[in-house]
């Protein structure tokens, strides 16, 4: 049981390291946010799960930490990405599609009701 917990902690730390490596290698802020938070969330969850297997009497506090990280980490990354788009952080030139951009094509826009008709 203890060896299994230590192996899970090791796998989680490898995920943490890969997330940080993605932070270093990704081309712009949005991909860095995506790589950094997803991989590090999974890594921390696996590490704390491994510590539950290592020390079963600490399950309460570790479970609080796990639930807390699962709730707060996606929220913070989402708010940060939204703020980054709002202050016009440039996207990488290799970006294919940007669905959050307000549309400038009049064909795509929904037809507004004509308020000056009468």
């Amino acid at each position: 049981m203890e060896e299994l917990g230590a192996i899970i902690v090791l796998i989680g730390s490898i995920f943490l390291f890969l997330g940080a490596l993605g932070l270093l290698r990704m081309p712009d802020s949005y991909t860095r946010i995506q790589a950094g938070t997803k991989a590090s969330t999974l890594g921390t969850l696996l590490s704390l799960l491994g510590f539950i297997l290592l020390m079963p009497s600490w399950w309460g506090k570790l479970l609080i930490l796990i639930v807390f990280i699962m709730l707060t980490n996606p929220i913070s990354s989402h708010v940060l990405a939204r703020a980054a788009y709002h202050i016009k952080t440039p996207l990488t030139p290799r970006t294919v599609v940007d669905k959050y951009k307000p549309s400038e094509d009049p064909v795509v826009e929904p037809t507004k009701p004509d308020t000056h008709a009468h």
Binding site: A20, I33, G36, S76, S77, T89
Partner: protein, 86 residues
Amino acid sequence: MVNLLLTLALGFMLAAMVVAVIRFFMGPRTTDRVIAFDVLTITSLSVIALIAWHTQRAIYLDVAIVYGLLSFLGVIIIARYLEKGL
């Protein structure tokens, strides 16, 4: 066996923290620095849990909970400040 595996895990965590610090100093934009800080604190949560296992004291987990809470609030406040000011 367990000690060896956890030492390897500590090595990976410290390497992740070093890489995050490099991005923190390199980052051309504020959001890059903020996300490097976030990864740094989340990695250090795991390091704090490992220290708690090493010293066999559960009180360090309370420190980890408060640290995670402060990190979350810091990122939210900085994002709000960037978006529309305080």
